[in-house]
Subunit: 396 residues, 2 copies
Amino acid sequence: MDNFNFYSPTEFVFGKERENEVGKYVRKYKGTRVLIHYGSGSAVKSGLIDKVKKSLDDEGIFYTELGGVKPNPRDTLVYEGIEICRREKIDFILSVGGGSCIDSSKGIAAGAVYDGDFWDFYSDKAVVKNALPIGTILTIAAAGSEGSGASVITQEKTKLKRDTGSDILRPVFSILNPMLTCTLPAYQTACGAADIMAHVFERYFTNTEEVEITDRLCEAVLLTMIKETPRVIADPDNYDARANIMWAGTVAHNDIVGVGRSQDWNSHAIEHELSGMYDVAHGAGLAVIMPAWMEFVMNHNVMRFAQMAVRVFGCEMNFEKPELTAKKGIDSFRKFLHSIGLPVNFDELGAKEADIPALVKNLGLGDGRTGGFVKLSSADVTEIYKIAAKAEICEG
Amino acid sequence: MDNFNFYSPTEFVFGKERENEVGKYVRKYKGTRVLIHYGSGSAVKSGLIDKVKKSLDDEGIFYTELGGVKPNPRDTLVYEGIEICRREKIDFILSVGGGSCIDSSKGIAAGAVYDGDFWDFYSDKAVVKNALPIGTILTIAAAGSEGSGASVITQEKTKLKRDTGSDILRPVFSILNPMLTCTLPAYQTACGAADIMAHVFERYFTNTEEVEITDRLCEAVLLTMIKETPRVIADPDNYDARANIMWAGTVAHNDIVGVGRSQDWNSHAIEHELSGMYDVAHGAGLAVIMPAWMEFVMNHNVMRFAQMAVRVFGCEMNFEKPELTAKKGIDSFRKFLHSIGLPVNFDELGAKEADIPALVKNLGLGDGRTGGFVKLSSADVTEIYKIAAKAEICEG
């Protein structure tokens, strides 16, 4: 096991109607002048923003607001948020929405107290050393941003999708009410599930040996997702299934399932180019990319894929030909994703095979290689996109 | 799933030689005048305390020290520590040892800033509202106190063992170097393993349905312990096995494996009377009590015990007679405990069946009942002690 630090100081406030306590938590974490940041109209239409305002009013806390966060959140709105924070002397960001909204809030929180351009943090020109405190009310189980220090922003003019991360950006509290996710369309629910599972797999495929505890915790989250996701697709109002998924989404990404070893993250990087170019849902892109990536790298460690197949997908171990078990695990994953309504190839996603050279170029590897489980060249990534483009469900 | 808050703000600093960074972490968490609190001479003899002092010296941090914590830590030493803190204007407690040492440190941390008698917190007369910050360097994987807000102290004159808990008592940092546990005798290692598994089982047996994510996380820790414990018993210097156990011990008790549902904790309460009366190791007492408790309550929810048997101990499910599977799971647990060198009945533990009425009396239920998975009367507890007294390993 490798040396590590694990730090997840966020207070998670989980359950029915907990959003009504938001004023109390903002006060607890010393917020006095709040920017409420949210996305599409649904947080307004559903009455959630009104509830939030009432709770802040009850505590006598000043607030202003900035809506309009889109999926794959843009730098342009972050600049707008930073401007408001400075003008209104904001000392707390309250993010009401999903991963895009929280990621956007993190950009604002870091940028508001930084003299330079916030994009410096996303282009490796600066490290986040200070930020306004962030609280969240999560409305979709997916990104895990409510418990992580990570943020991904897309630069409007270049369509480049880039990330940053710091413990300083971890929310001080996150309110998770699974009821708020019951009204999500099935497709968005499924995209969230794919994202959650991908966050685990990015950590599951490691070159560090003998980290059984982290392996088992990864498998715990994956098994939960496999049980609960089909239940919410069939029965969107199933509270317990929603609750299990929502908490699994947080556990999947605060790094408790990743410590003590190397991680991968190439599927995320490869997918980011897809959602950057076509503005498709990140989870849908992952459903297409991740099984393709698995097929491409499987031979690097067949037994690890066999372990996934047996422990996560309940495949029978083939002791004579473990590679068949490994492959069966990958097929099971793709079949699962398809069963919950997700695309498994470029056609179903709305991507074009002809764009592969452009996707590879945007990834910007050039003659270099990525890090991760298997270090990938541009040629390798091309091959992965090709596998993804043509993937089909294997019957049997 | 029940509503819950989950809050685990401790920064875990894990791996080889991390204790050499302790000065840096004390500084990070604003310690300027430190009480180093430790147990037996082994922390001194091994050179660990010298390393700690050097690291504090390097940062120019003032310290004084108080050794002498015993297993089942006493109130008398806590009073002494409180006295030192007040006299020396201590603003940080650095706990170097196992669960007993950290529990003692929590008593001191709460008592030092409290006007009344610190025992008020342990006798339900007051709630902890303030405490000095605590950092830990853990030397035995067992109690989970390094990541929890819980503390158990024994009152010297009455031999009563009582607990308290508060998020305020969670350490601000905990340094976990698995190497420090390699010199532990096999028996102490095994006792620690039993304690870790018991912390999970206390949370596994719940009356709240449909909390799959927490079930699976529990099972992840248990499966890890079943794999890794025999390895360290056979090969005490196996770093990776030690590391998996040490981290499992923390995960088992920061409540990530307990959220969203009712918990039990009767086995702990019943065991506390044993270690209070005989001064035996807590983990050894649990090895005797917990399987007996399981047998006594099994019929309350046979399918939950069958789930444990199948998922944790790899038993084959008997679909016609699930109660046989359930019983087999309990037998497997007892057999596992015995295989790592732990007692399974009163004789092996050094307890006397004739003392059962006194043990039951000390527990103090009177005509009342406990809470938990099954609410127990004094008669029930008597029965559990009797099962524990005579327990044997089932062959086959």
